[in-house]
């Protein structure tokens, strides 16, 4: 169970894993996530399901701390200690007409099955993909297939238009394109900016939140956010919420709670990784 069948690099420090998990693969739907513990002594971390087959789920993971670094060092053939899911409420897919699916950075991965579902459902899907720079843009081909039109933006203009996803979205609106609903998945700031834009334009907007989690089943409340002034648990009430109701500032502060702690362990881990690499290189040098 939970054997990594395939692993590949999508961008620097962004890996894609195909994991054997039949009981999850059987019932997952777009928008749901799993809780993973790479190894026995690891933290539990939430990862959104990016794709699946009859017996596998696909996860796209960016290395941002120790747990994701440990995972980055695992290879095809190894087993994850735990993979629990599918958790959370599936993304709401309805017939609305035109849908803009906005994915930023690794957020493109979870946006992919949502775009696909909207397309299958008969909505006209415009995908807006954003990345800092060209080499960080992932899953462009898949997204092209999952949508009717694809717009690409990079912060530095190295690929597609120069600018942010909001620039692209604003331009589509200015052109008078029919956008009845927006789905945004990506960094919290990006979702906040998108929500601000669509609030003014009066377009319903769903965002998929990625808070810190422990159990992922509603037991700890560590994942809580304020939505429309009420406390909600992202793992069971979400991860998808009305973007116009989410208190993003509170969420961003809570996301950053453990950053100092984690920086330390991450740096220690990078150090041991360097030593390990040096050790394996040693013989060839001789």
């Amino acid at each position: 169970m939970f054997r990594i069948l395939e692993k590949g690099l999508l961008a620097p420090r962004v890996n894609r894993y195909v994991v054997h998990a039949p009981q999850v693969a059987r019932s997952w739907r777009a928008g749901q996530f799993v809780i993973v513990r790479p190894r026995e002594d690891s933290e539990r971390i939430p990862l959104t399901i990016a794709d699946g087959s009859a017996e596998t789920v696909t996860l796209v993971v960016q290395e941002v701390g120790k747990t994701t670094a440990v995972m980055a060092d695992m290879q095809a053939g190894e087993r994850l200690a735990d993979l629990c899911g599918p958790l959370g409420v599936p993304a709401k897919i309805e017939k609305v007409g035109g849908v803009a699916v906005v994915g930023g950075g690794v957020g493109i991965a979870p946006a992919y099955p949502i775009a696909q579902a909207h397309k299958t459902f008969g909505n006209h899907v415009i995908a807006i993909l954003g990345a800092r720079t060209r080499e960080l843009l992932i899953m462009e081909e898949e997204m092209r297939r999952a949508s009717h039109e694809t717009v690409i933006v990079t912060d530095d203009g190295s690929r597609g238009e120069k600018g942010f996803v909001t620039t692209a979205l604003q331009r589509l609106l200015d052109l008078g394109r029919t956008i009845d609903e927006v789905v945004a998945v990506g960094p919290a700031v990006m979702m906040k900016m998108v929500a601000a834009l669509t609030r003014d334009a009066g377009i319903p907007t769903r965002v998929s939140l990625n808070t810190i989690m422990i159990d992922g089943t509603g037991m700890c409340g560590g994942c809580r956010v304020a939505v429309g002034g009420r406390t909600k648990f992202v793992c069971v009430d979400g991860p998808e919420f009305d973007g116009h109701q989410v208190d993003f500032d509170l969420m961003m502060r809570r996301q950053a709670m453990y950053l100092d702690h984690e920086r330390g362990t991450y740096e220690d881990y990078l150090e041991t990784r360097r030593c390990r690499l040096d050790a394996t290189r040693e013989p060839s040098r001789r």
């Binding site: 629990c84 899911g85 599918p86 958790l87 089943t217 037991m219 560590g222 702690h261």
Partner: protein
């Protein structure tokens, strides 16, 4: 020592109660080891010799699983610990756990004839400590697996591996049924593993009790969230009956401004980080815990005491329990309150939080509390607290742990509308058979009772196991709560 039986009851009443050896408070707040160290063999025999061996023992009726207490205590007094262990195992699947965490003072020991004769609850025979002694002796000396009936060819799915689920699994597997336990987390034990701290219940003990069940043939599947990974209907297609023992894991929050500031935790989060994920070992374990200096714990139950004592062990300088009634109304066990006091936990009684204050970075900078006065007793028999206008003051703290109760997680019921629940989310069952409104599905423990106790959960598990066995044999489904009509 074998002549203890020769002593008259009057003589026995004169024997002194044995004190429980404990780690010193100043030492134990700096480690995670167990506070109570357990009786020595001599102490256990001396304590057991105090039992009057009543012809009509009241203690047995006080035990929710009906252990034959006089018989096991007599075996301890005889020094025949193996027999004592066998007597306890007849009725109790988790003796090392119950010996540590049961509220014996309200159960068997409250009914003890020695308590009555000496008019002192403190001087009852320490049945719980004897149970613990015997269970620990057994862990050290090995056990003989009980006999199993031949396979019935039937199988049962158990949802949740807390004390309720473990009891059902143990009882049914011995009756010859195949049992698969589905657990959402990555370890078995429920609250025993994620909630009750190491210093009160070492996790190694829970692990060994689970291993005992595995050796009996119970299959455990981890990372299975019933209602998400698999639905109850699907379980029923593969098993002839389902038992729901999913506990009461959904934490209540305060519903005051600032409850989501950084540094406000539910007790569940705080204890899960420290127990299940071993954050106190950070960075040796990967799960972090913020080092807080001044901690307020809101609530007056066992969970609040556990959180407060855990916070001290995780390096807090001051920890205060903030409780809206007085000490008399505190639902925590006396022993827990006593241990917390000894360790230096402070008590702000008759104060209730009104809001949590934050700094410019969104971290807890204090908590505003208001003085409460106690009015007439309410439905629970406890005096109802009411705020005194204008009495607010601010406690200088940098972390708040909220321990004001849990409710059943709605996940299962939401995924299966055929299961009837109460207004507060508890699953409705027939009290004699633990049957739910859905045919073939039984429930018990905190998911039915709301946050209760280990032994009550086990008692419900025992009753459910009996009813499940009967149902597997006879197949009739009478007396269960009315089914929910199909729409």
């Amino acid at each position: 020592m074998t002549d203890w039986r020769a002593r008259s009851p009057k003589d026995r009443l004169r024997l002194p109660a044995q004190p429980m050896p404990e780690q010193r408070p100043d030492a134990r707040v700096r480690n995670m080891n167990e506070v109570a160290l357990g009786f020595s063999a001599d102490q256990a025999r001396a304590e057991a010799a105090r039992c009057l061996q009543c012809a009509n023992p009241k203690c047995v009726a006080g035990c929710p699983v009906g252990i034959d207490i006089p018989r096991f205590v007599a075996a301890v007094a005889d020094g025949d610990f193996a027999s004592a262990s066998a007597v306890i195992r007849e009725k109790n699947l988790l003796p090392a756990v119950c010996g540590r965490v049961c509220p014996q003072e309200d159960q068997c020991q409250a009914a003890c004839a020695v308590t009555k004769a000496l008019k002192s609850a403190e001087d009852s025979v320490s049945i719980g400590r004897l149970e613990r002694f015997v269970a620990d002796w057994e862990l050290g000396h090995g056990y003989v697996l009980p006999e199993k009936k031949p396979s019935s060819g039937k199988s049962v799915a158990v949802v949740g591996s807390g004390p309720a689920g473990l009891t059902v699994a143990g009882d049914l597997v011995r009756m010859g049924h195949a049992v698969t336990v589905f657990e959402a987390l990555h370890r078995a034990g429920g609250v025993l593993i994620y909630g009750i701290p190491e210093f009160r219940l070492p996790k190694e003990i829970v692990r060994r009790e689970v291993e005992y069940l595995e050796r009996l043939g119970v299959e455990f599947r981890y990372d299975w969230v019933v209602g998400k990974t698999v639905r109850i209907k699907e379980l029923l297609a593969e098993h002839q009956a389902v038992f729901l023992g999913a506990g009461a894991g959904l934490p209540n929050f305060l519903d005051v401004p600032g409850e989501s500031l950084c540094g406000v935790y539910s007790a569940n989060e705080y204890l899960t980080r420290t127990n299940l994920m071993r954050a106190f070992d950070f960075p040796a374990s990967d799960t972090p815990l913020i080092r807080s200096r001044r901690v307020a714990v809101i609530g007056g139950g066992n969970v609040a005491m556990d959180s407060a004592r855990m916070a001290l062990r995780c390096g807090a300088e001051t920890v205060s329990i903030v409780y809206r009634r007085s000490e008399k109304e505190m639902p925590a066990r006396r022993e827990e309150v006593h241990h917390a006091r000894e360790e230096g936990v402070l008590f702000s009684l008759r104060w209730a939080p009104t809001r949590v204050l934050g700094d410019e970075r969104g971290w807890v900078a204090g908590i505003e509390v208001i003085r409460m006065e106690l009015g007439e007793p309410d439905a629970s028999g406890r005096r109802r607290p009411a705020p005194i206008a204008g009495s607010e003051r601010v406690l200088d703290v940098d972390a708040v742990i909220v321990a004001i109760g849990n409710q059943p997680n709605p996940l299962i019921a939401e995924s299966c509308p055929a299961i009837r629940t109460t207004k507060w989310g508890g699953i409705v069952v027939d009290p004699n058979t633990q049957r739910t409104s859905m045919k073939g599905v039984f429930a018990g423990g905190d998911v039915v009772l709301g946050a209760a106790t280990v032994i009550l959960a086990m008692g419900e598990g025992r009753r459910a196991a009996r009813a499940i066995a009967e149902y597997l044999e006879q197949g009739d489904w009478n007396g269960a709560p009315d089914p929910i009509p199909d729409e």
